[in-house]
Symmetry: D2
Subunit: 424 residues, 4 copies
């Protein structure tokens, strides 16, 4: 059954909004910046721009538009990220050697695909098949994910240049800081349900909604702040193996970690590099750019623990989704200035919150059919779930059921934590 | 409250039984064999003999016997495995360079500690404190774990010598093969309980008993056999990325895996190296020496899945613990020859069964106090749970609630799988 | 004693010629191309442009012009290559992450330094001190070396992009191919002299002129051609360890070498990537982009050997320095089309010729004083001497006594070989 | 022409002497010691015992005795070191995993081969072919080389065990220390000859004798001592890049070198590990266990240089070959106690002396025919020549023309240096 005309119109609008944000972000860069890959985990901004476009070409236009002429047949090799079932691809760690295609060509590629997508939607008028609608929607969600990665990757790349460039001008919220202290809120638990069950978009990894048993627990009202994290550092947290998982301690020693990523200690106190340049560390902002290992060690040192993802979702399901997202253009977590009455603060936006839950499939979960089945399911090993979105996420991209995931040692995302504990 | 005299006597008997098994196993080796470490994951047999002894010296004698004279103060450095909170230790990957202390010295060390432990128990007569009893018990469980590792490590070491030595003479069960085919048994699920709650010994990672919700599921009556696994190989399983987790596929390509560890294809069919020498592969034996990645890929290719550890434990809780353990001295899984009426076969012994569950702490779990808190808890990251024990485990060591765990790419343990699926 | 006015004028002219060539080469690149470092041995073109400029700033302006204001104090860290005695520097293998300073800033830097140098020379009028003259001269020689590296590095970078971009339009010599076959010319040897002794510029590693005893030998009239090298490949040269040095054979196996760098075999024969795009391999061109190991193995397989650097220099001392240099803008070796009567062909230009001589200091050699002593002397270990210049060298840069040097496994320079043998 | 009977008798005697020394050295080890390979450069003692035996089996018995029955056909794979042209072999870095064949089997192998060799020699009576004589001679020289390696390898292996075992009881020379100070002796140079030309045994790499031009030079009477080397350390030599070759400085930083291998600084001064246990460092003994990089840096810091191998050989050709060799069973360099009147002291024995000469072939040199051509020639790249023998060499093994060679970063041989300088 085709979707209604209004929905198709809305989709076209979303398409243009999302696509143009990528270009707006890229416009803040010089051409030389677009090709940097300062470590294997990051991708050059140019690659993000091309890969997200290839996603629409490969999964929508090539499959559903017999008249479509691919922009350049070599792009299937260059801009496939990891879809093994559709062919070989350029090695991930070598994306930074692809000085060509040039930025000009990539913008041509984007225009070429954008025109074809809009034409495809328009040609159906009020008869847009559900399947195409859903593929475009997933393509947009996918592009939003890469917009966040573009921001985190540029931040990492820029941090490797001693000149410490600014991606954007500093910007701060106008509202006064909220006065609320961190408190712990009791939650009953019992046989609850988590996972997505509504009519809107969700990824396959959020479904189905399913029952989980939770013992009574308590969850902190606020994320952990820089000031609290400095107490851990000053108490010797990075020198004391007893707080750390075995793999975490090995990483601390190998990487010589002494503090979160991007921090620098000076005689004048702590500084941190941000997308708006290096700045003095604000003690009341949520701590950020820590690995799961550090989040877990901090929690142990605090006599608390990380929440499971079920505990997190059950508690946060009804908290309004507003906060410091990419739309605010701060590109950095801010101090709590919330005015709402919800018991939990800074739940959405600011920082992704590490949970204690390894990333696994939900009971009776079904991956998408075909190559898009590789989108999420094949990564369900050796990764940990994070919840809530960050200052680099688009607000429209985040849901209470949204599951982000990264390996336990990664720090270049805007990742922090919120503490939990058992009810006694 | 001290434990009763009978329990102390029983403990002394167990002590002598367990300790003498280590020496019996080592007696099958030549002195040169005892110092081999053919990869970082394995330890030299000599090191196992010394480390298990050090465990009693360090955690019991030094803590509870003020008159005890340590055998050699350097052994704290040499034979501490990973207890960060009690001091530095010799690097794990370099255990194979420690040609000294010699085997003769290590046997002297064992005698020295054995005499001190027996004397310690005897001196209390009928007043053995519960705490010392429990420490000795955990020391014996620990030694049983290292007995299994000694067997798997010797197997790996011997496989690296083109001469393919025998650890033991081949031995087979006398009973005829059972005729039962693999079937799938329905299990209701619902709000069930798993975890240990009895009075006997259990590790901290098995506690507390707690509620879990299970959807209705089905579990295979038998582990997957070599014959079934060969079908996967012959269907191109190792060449088709669609069955594999992303990390698994990367491992397959990097390690050039084409079949389970120890297999070798000849014109005359498949052969496998065993602790009793290389032998022709038996199609009806459970498949063994596969990683989690291979178990998971096989399950996907089969249209099934791995069970969670909760599904496994709930189904197997009442199955009798007998089977092909180290006591049988086969040191290799055998074909099913069970005569009992239990619906599930070869549950205990033969092969450890990979579950789909990452190794995490149970709700409200508490690690042991002090350095022994490092025994299990700090490994709860990047590991997968296996259940049921193997042909290299001691029968007295295994419980339905017992949780073994290894990283997803490890294959040198006797590890296989049993399939599960959702009830439709 | 200051140098004469005419010499100062000539130096200024050379300065402008050499400096502008760097910019002319860079102008053929897009901005994204200037920051690529596809392997640790290459540097981004942008880095070459900045480093050569920093060389003038650091060694001439800062030392000799008290009024000079450094362009950016951080450039000492960013653009010092390897001068340990003057301070720390950005790691070589990470030059490709420096997207900033931008190309615009680097051109500003170049202008800033150029103006200061010209002003410095001018202010002395006819009194330019010899020392400053010599430093500027070494700065220009240095920049010419980096111009060659810029070409070889761009070639390597471009070869990693499947789009195989062109650096320049193809261009060929107009002259007809020479008809001369390779012959071997007898050379007497005896107690000869090599090394530089004239009044012009030479590097410290070419001095002093000194005696060497040579047994009678024979040297090939031409470099080895692609056609001759293909015979080696087709005879199984890359599969037969008997031709190879031990380290060479290990490299062949590890790197899976089957042919020179940049070659590709198709159904239509061999192709090679060049700075003017991929083209069909010409059998009569000198073979190029081979390591010392390959040159040595080819020579052994041929029943010949490589010449020592003394044999090469003694034979070539009177051969005119003309040929296919960077000035011809071919950027690739060409077939012999020489018209002169010299017995040896394609001696200078086309390809650097591997000798059998490890790079060591000449007897009684003295490195330059101060930090510039690090220029050459500290690399006299684990490197092999090459002679004669290549199609990427400037003609004005090459002398008979010129010593180039690279590790035995490097292939990204325009490196080939000429055969030698003992007189019987 | 067959060799004379007396020569055959002498060869048999040498055979028994050399072979029995290997077993005498091995008898000082426990069985567990014989299989240790604490780094890839060393081989397990057991492997040395078997490989030297395999050398006789493979190159003499299999080629010249049609009735010979190989001891075990798998030994060709296990104990071939690096002869590519005769078949594949066990990887060098994994020799330490070969717990089997056991020591008992290896002694059986040695006996088996010894009997066959003696029988082969005897069967010819007075008609032993020159070729077989020469092969046995090279086999014995080869075994002497491995006897030295066995000593240096055991030393390295033992140094990795915190228990620091003794290989032998300490032993010291009875003679009083010589009173001579280090002086520099002038040597004329000119057109001299080096290389072997006599009738006795020499390796192919020592031949032919050939002319070399030497500028007038000066050579130190004594090797550099520990005391002199400590001055370099205390002056900051390991922290100052200006003394070091570029590759050397990179190694110092990567390996965190602060002093020679086996040294340890205590409050009580410097200690060093030796084959007779750890002992206080003697300031007057020659410095030992330094790399070429350290020798070269020390020489630069001293305002001197290393001699070339031609300078060394020309100066030392007539110095008597006596000194502190393996026969003295000190297994460590000693202070000079020479009584002879030769101008140069401790030339032979004590420590190998690094020269400045890369290891290359002599003019008109011819490697041995066949697989034994791989013995020396294929290593003529990336290695530096050492001269004079050490306290671990057999006296009967060393000649003035003898060329030892190791990569510039190796330190586990008994390697030191003697200074040289140009005559002014």
């Amino acid at each position: 059954m085709p979707i209604e005309h209004a929905a198709a119109v809305k989709l076209s609008e979303q398409y243009q909004q999302v696509r143009s944000l990528s270009e707006k972000l890229a416009s803040k860069l010089q051409n030389e910046d677009t090709i940097i890959q300062a470590m294997p985990d990051v991708s050059p901004p140019k690659w993000h721009l091309a890969h997200t476009t290839w996603f629409f070409e490969r999964f929508i236009l090539k499959e559903n538009d017999s008249s479509y002429v691919p922009f350049n047949p070599q792009f299937d090799y260059l801009f496939n990220s990891y879809y093994e079932t559709i062919g070989s691809y350029h090695p991930r760690h070598s994306r930074g050697v692809l000085s060509r295609p040039s930025m000009d060509e990539i913008y041509e590629f984007r225009n070429h695909v954008d025109e074809a997508i809009i034409q495809l939607v328009n040609q159906f008028e009020s008869q847009l098949p559900q399947e195409i609608h859903d593929l475009i929607e997933i393509g947009l969600q996918h592009e939003q994910q890469h917009q966040e990665l573009l921001l985190t990757d540029v931040k990492y790349n820029f941090s490797c240049t001693p000149l410490l460039p600014q991606f954007a001008e500093p910007k701060t919220f106008q509202l006064p800081q909220s006065n609320t202290e961190t408190t712990y809120i009791n939650i009953e638990g019992g046989l609850v349900e988590i996972g997505y069950s509504g009519a809107g978009f969700s990824f396959d990894n959020e479904r189905p909604r399913h029952k989980v048993w939770l013992e009574p627990y308590r969850l902190a009202s606020h994320p952990v702040t820089n000031g609290e994290y400095i107490s851990f550092i000053e108490a010797g947290g990075y020198e004391q193996p007893e707080h750390w998982l075995s793999d975490g301690w090995a990483t601390v020693k190998k990487e010589k970690w002494k503090h979160p990523l991007y921090w620098r200690k000076t005689e004048d106190g702590w500084y941190t590099f941000t997308l708006t340049g290096e700045k003095k560390l604000s003690l009341d902002e949520p701590v950020c750019h820590i690995s799961f290992y550090e989040a877990d060690a901090f929690a142990r040192w605090s006599g608390k623990r990380l929440p499971t993802e079920a505990e997190w979702e059950h508690a946060m399901a009804s908290i309004p989704i507003d906060g410091n997202f990419a739309e605010s253009e701060c590109y950095h977590p801010v101090v709590d200035h919330s005015e709402n009455l919800a018991p939990f603060k800074q739940v959405y936006g600011d920082v992704w919150e590490w949970t204690s839950s390894p990333y696994t499939s939900y009971p009776r979960s079904k991956p998408l059919e075909g190559a898009l089945g590789e989108y999420n399911a094949k990564f369900m090993c050796n990764q940990i779930v994070l919840r809530g979105g960050s200052c680099a996420s688009s607000q429209s991209h985040i849901r209470p059921t949204y599951r982000n995931f990264f390996p336990a040692d990664k720090r270049w995302q805007f990742s922090g934590l919120r503490l939990a504990e058992d009810q006694s």
